[in-house]
Amino acid sequence: EDQVTQSPEALRLQEGESSSLNCSYTVSGLRGLFWYRQDPGKGPEFLFTLYSAGEEKEKERLKATLTKKESFLHITAPKPEDSATYLCAVPVLILTGGGNKLTFGTGTQLKVEL
């Protein structure tokens, strides 16, 4: 069964203090990975899809990287508005009918303070 583990569970940063969040996974064959942002009481908001090991994607202060065993979400010079829970998820293809179902990690709760 696919397992997704995120660390740390919680992270407190000062504004401008860069750091990285980790997502490690055990899956039967790497087939991509998704990063989402979730604000309290809201639905997951799509950030990135990474398709293959070595791939990197960037959006503003966020950069996601992928290896064969884990993914990192690097946050450079964070601002208070980056405070949220960051979720990673791996897809499992649905053989009958298509689409895929996502297996999520428990997330990293990021708090960025002034």
Binding site: G41, K42, L87, T96, G99, N100
Partner: protein, 115 residues
């Protein structure tokens, strides 16, 4: 930008009552999903729906749950006889196509509280 919408945002119900949660997926998407998140826990897959039928469901999705696409725009989740443990955030999601790399876009969720 197109987005997934859900109603109601909050629902309080008594144990044993039926609830229907509603979703309007993104208009050109073909695959629809329900997930739930119990407070403080992971987002969990419940069911996927394509071409007017369930394509996969999890162990959580027992006989008390059903899904329907009653018209060309709405996608509903019905819980026939709610239990206390059904209290959670329920998220609808949709994707354009099949394949591992197809992004699922999530709605804002319905917070269900069963008393």
């Amino acid at each position: 930008e197109p987005e997934v919408t859900q109603t109601p945002s909050h629902q309080v119900t008594q144990m044993g009552q039926e609830v229907i949660l509603r979703c309007v997926p993104i208009s050109n998407h073909l695959y629809f999903y329900w997930y739930r998140q119990i407070l403080g826990q992971k987002v969990e897959f419940l069911v996927s729906f394509y071409n007017n039928e369930i394509s996969e469901k999890s162990e959580i999705f027992d006989d008390q749950f059903s899904v329907e696409r009653p018209d060309g725009s709405n996608f509903t989740l019905k819980i026939r006889s709610t239990k206390l443990e059904d209290s959670a955030m329920y998220f609808c999601a949709s994707s354009r196509g099949l394949g591992y790399q197809e992004t699922q876009y999530f709605g804002p969720g319905t917070r269900l509280l069963v008393l």
